[in-house]
């Protein structure tokens, strides 16, 4: 398969991917998380142990967005080299595949309107957010993500992880922002204890960041 990550794995060559570093030696692959320090914790040598470890950030909060630059720090894992692809998949699902498809020109990219049109129930409101609000929501969420939103027209380098479609957390954030446009809630102090994607909860860090951005950029409709 094409793509820098797949090529590096095939060649047994060290590379960085999102927030992790990958190195090979003596038939084994070692993945190192961010902020390893002098003595990073060694995880149990299974892909499942890795997957479970990266589900939570340093504060113990659930990470529903795999690309969020909130990977827990100070760990490493060593596995048989044949499991390198599975290990990447455990940290960043579909990312190596999408990188390879982008390199081959076969990546299926879905514009926001297509993804929004597919939504049902209360998620339909995500498509009602004005373009300026949507750009602010994207900047708020995608700005802290290791994936590059090519669905929004951004170009991704060969080393980047392309994101071909607006993700569930972004749709949820847009849904809330559409409501906030109509009736802005009062701001609250950001609270790192609020779950990452609890956008309905005052104090959620992404909510408060986006509310501030929206207050500074009224919608075209609001401006009259």
């Amino acid at each position: 398969m094409n793509g820098r990550a797949c090529e590096a794995i095939a060649a047994g060559r060290a590379f960085s991917f999102g927030e992790i570093d990958v190195a090979f030696g003596e038939g084994r692959v070692t993945l190192t998380g961010p902020r390893p320090g002098r003595a990073p914790r060694t995880l149990d040598a299974t892909v499942e142990a890795l997957r479970r470890h990266v589900r939570f950030d340093d504060r113990g909060r659930y990470r529903p967005l795999s690309g969020a630059r909130t990977l827990p720090g100070g760990w490493r894992i060593t596995l048989p080299a044949r499991l390198a692809g599975a290990a990447l998949e455990a940290v960043y699902p579909l990312a190596a595949l999408h990188q390879a498809q982008a390199a081959a020109g076969t990546l299926r990219v879905a514009p926001f309107a297509e993804t929004a049109a597919r939504q049902r129930g209360r998620y339909r409101a995500a498509g009602e957010l004005d373009a300026a609000g949507r750009d602010l929501a994207r900047a708020t969420l995608c700005g802290g993500c290791a994936r590059t939103p090519v669905w929004a027209g951004e170009s991704a380098s060969a080393e980047a992880i392309p994101c071909p479609e607006a993700c569930g957390p972004l749709l949820a954030l847009c849904r809330e922002a559409a409501r906030w446009r109509a009736e802005p809630p009062p701001p609250a102090p950001p609270d790192g204890g609020v779950p990452f994607a609890a956008f309905e909860t005052p104090g959620n860090e992404l909510r408060e960041t986006l509310l501030l951005s929206l207050s500074r950029a009224p919608s075209a409709m609001a401006r009259g």
Binding site: Y62, P64, S66, L97, P164, G168, A172
Partner: protein
Amino acid sequence: MSGPRRALLLAGHGSQLDARSGEAVRAHARRLAASGAFDEVLTGFWKEEPALARALDGCRADDVVIVPAFMAEGYFVNEVVPAELGLDGPLTRRGGRMLRLARPLGAHPLLAEAVAARALEAGAAADGAVFVLGHGHPRDPRSARAVRAQVGRIRATGRFARVEAVFTDQAPRADAIPALADGRAATVVPFFAAGGWHVGRAAAAIPANARLAAPAGAHALATDALAALAREAARG
């Protein structure tokens, strides 16, 4: 010469708020992958990664069976899963590939066995009352249908003195359990695909003296049910 490559996709709900929500589906997928019955076993979630809409991005199979790991033949199975995967109905032909949509997990008779097993694990006795706690929907009768069907199957075994359906979102609700139990020890089995928000809410609603079992949809028997549903859909 080998035949067409066959894949199984387990379509789950997942959650952006609760890490437990997708774990049962992943455990089913690991067991089914180990069985070797399919060339590929994939997972896709509505509210988790990998997203349903992208779950087949790397799939190389010609023939894909999609089994919804949902308990009712309702909104998710009939609207969300087909919309996310671009399905035309039970059978979709796209780009030389067959996509077969199976019945949902909660429809299979093995789930009655899973409920009974969960009740026994939690300590239910033959003279006790077992309550199968489903989601339900006040405006969509399809949501409760699978729960009632499984209740009928468990009753028919005569294994427990009383078996009743209760729901989180329609009557009868969990607050009816004391009256329905009629003095018998009550065991509540969540008829959900996984632990998570719904089961947590259910736990908060049941009477303090009732036993709460683990969700039926996360039982190993549910893995067998998923495999059976996949075989059923593959036969067409």
